[in-house]
Symmetry: C2
Subunit: 427 residues, 2 copies
Amino acid sequence: MDERTAKLLARRERLLGAGAPLFYDEPLHIVRGEGVWLYAADGRRYLDCYNNVPHVGHCHPDVVAALARQAATLNVHTRYLHETILDYSERLLATFAPHLDSVLYACTGSEANDQALRIARHATGHRGIVCTNLTYHGNTTAVDAVSPLFYGRVTPHPDVRTMPWPDAYRAPQGLAGAALCDHYLACLDAAIAELAASDAGFAGLIVCSIFANEGLPDVPAGFMAAAAARVRAAGGLVIADEVQAGFGRTGTMWGHDLVGFSPDIVTLGKPMGNGHPISAVVTRRELLDAFRHDVMYFNTFGGNPVSCAVASAVLDVMEREDLLANARAQGDYVRDGFRRLAERHAVIGDVRGAGLWIGVELVRDRATREPATEETRRIVNRMKERGILMNRIGEFDNVLKMRPPMPFAREHAELLLATVDEVLGAG
Amino acid sequence: MDERTAKLLARRERLLGAGAPLFYDEPLHIVRGEGVWLYAADGRRYLDCYNNVPHVGHCHPDVVAALARQAATLNVHTRYLHETILDYSERLLATFAPHLDSVLYACTGSEANDQALRIARHATGHRGIVCTNLTYHGNTTAVDAVSPLFYGRVTPHPDVRTMPWPDAYRAPQGLAGAALCDHYLACLDAAIAELAASDAGFAGLIVCSIFANEGLPDVPAGFMAAAAARVRAAGGLVIADEVQAGFGRTGTMWGHDLVGFSPDIVTLGKPMGNGHPISAVVTRRELLDAFRHDVMYFNTFGGNPVSCAVASAVLDVMEREDLLANARAQGDYVRDGFRRLAERHAVIGDVRGAGLWIGVELVRDRATREPATEETRRIVNRMKERGILMNRIGEFDNVLKMRPPMPFAREHAELLLATVDEVLGAG
């Protein structure tokens, strides 16, 4: 590590607390971003295959212009009338099924998920929530209780029960298809029954619609539609966390459309403002009306004119640059490329994902599927050394995680694949 | 109400839910802001005596320039190294007592208070929190539980006990001075004892350092220092919510310096980014280190280079325009003016506050101190009709609430006082 980096690290530990999270064995000092590229302090550039927040590209000039224009005109809370929030809301809601017709704004995905839990608990009169055993929905006290990812498979909160995430690659007892689906539905039923029998009662299910943190599994066909039906039959609500999946990342506007289920409440965040802090809860009007009737929800910054102008500019760029079609085309190209690489590199166990959400599971043995955890860590660091940024996820931290900015082009996909080929070849 | 406003209101109800909060009997449609002025769609301008979030003035060109410049350069999360966050952190922490030497970033005051509760609970191993019976700290599930303002005087959460806010104007049993102090300290002791005897245990006290939502009382001298000592003697931590009080609003950089107590944890928000969503928790390093050791706290947008560049520009403007001195001078001038008006207008019962946080309590009878609640509502609306924006707070909603942008000048103070004189004279 060079002296400058070491000094920065020491200052950081002192000011932000020891253990404030950082990427890579030797952290990167990034100073500039443009499109799919990040530039370090030493002048080196990196192809960004990791960051989904700069959705339409780092520092997209149209988004920056909208931000600067509105910030110079008006930035104030939503207790005065303004049109930007209404225009944006109409445009946003038009991308959902008709029953999802109302929106509440906040600033972060954690805040959106916290309000989603409040709405579900308010509507049902119960507190009990089911989540998967390897999920992360955010960092508030209430959302942390439904985020067992960093706490092993057990969540200690009495109002929460976990169920296993649907894993088709390491399916229990070698189950597949409808039998696998039934297995996970039985797990859901058991979690619901436990809550219903408890003091908490059953309020609903919260899931990332594509199970991103769980490692982006191939969700068994029909699983989520059946799960949503079971939740509703038990009097609960279905919360789809679209903070990672949403806004066309998967080549479909919303992850729940891709996976095939209809939520009662949807939460949005990360890419919504291309890095500007805006998030939202989209839900049925009767749920939001009832919540607002009893609860004074107000968010000082949520839905302000600047945030809504920025979020609107993001939709403009997505449309103008046809980024959903690009996500499908380049994502498929990258997955095909990894499948070709798998013919030469036995460490590639499974290639998954949709659009520009790409997961590649690395294993030591394709038959036993022993996770190549340490190899994955090394590969992520070596890819960085060769100028390409990615990270890893999953139960065994052995899934390469790739979510590049959406203007990721064929030439970037080719560079990614060629570099992976080299790094895997180097062992 | 004109047709255009009525149409906006109908769209708003449809899109954002019935009852999304709005100001004034006839809501304002604001389209532009500059300095201490807001401009409505009909071209009318309003003197803004309400908004504390645009701290250095609506759309301050230096803040907008810093925002636009950094947004065009780099906007990325904090898991790469960058210097802006460290430079800003050093500058921010230098404004606190030496023991408050570490900072954790988030986006909203609610998020900051939620993390403050997590840190206090983590450090003590207990869950029980004491708050006042008329406070509001934000909107997450956990923070809502310590925000009884909108739920009457009782909070239902088993981990929370309330104590009365220190009211020197309607002091119980006519107490004053040390006796009044002792009365409220006994209430605090009782709340702590209840929690300590419960399953929750005692984790700490959270207070707005100037009791802003409670109506900005004249806090009995020595009360908060003695309260903090009692909290610590019981093994708890003191959380000062500076989301409203902080950044020089009171003419002193932090409300706890003004009121005279030393917190373990401080939360910041609203004015920090002049409307850009940035917030923070400032605390002792050993508390933050221990929290980070056990808890994976990461906030996607918190402390990003854009937020820190904006927050730094806010400090620049505060220094260059000497806004703390201005807050003291203009705030004192306004309070003196209200005291002169009280000689002619019997409805003015009490004039309170510090710097540009001004509270004026209206009563029907100075002897009985019967709250002039309905009159206050009418006056706030009439002031708006005459082009001046303020609002009301307090147990009886009878305290005029004024917190103008900090570049509020003598001419604005004179316009405010002359207009109040007219409106009160009109009855």
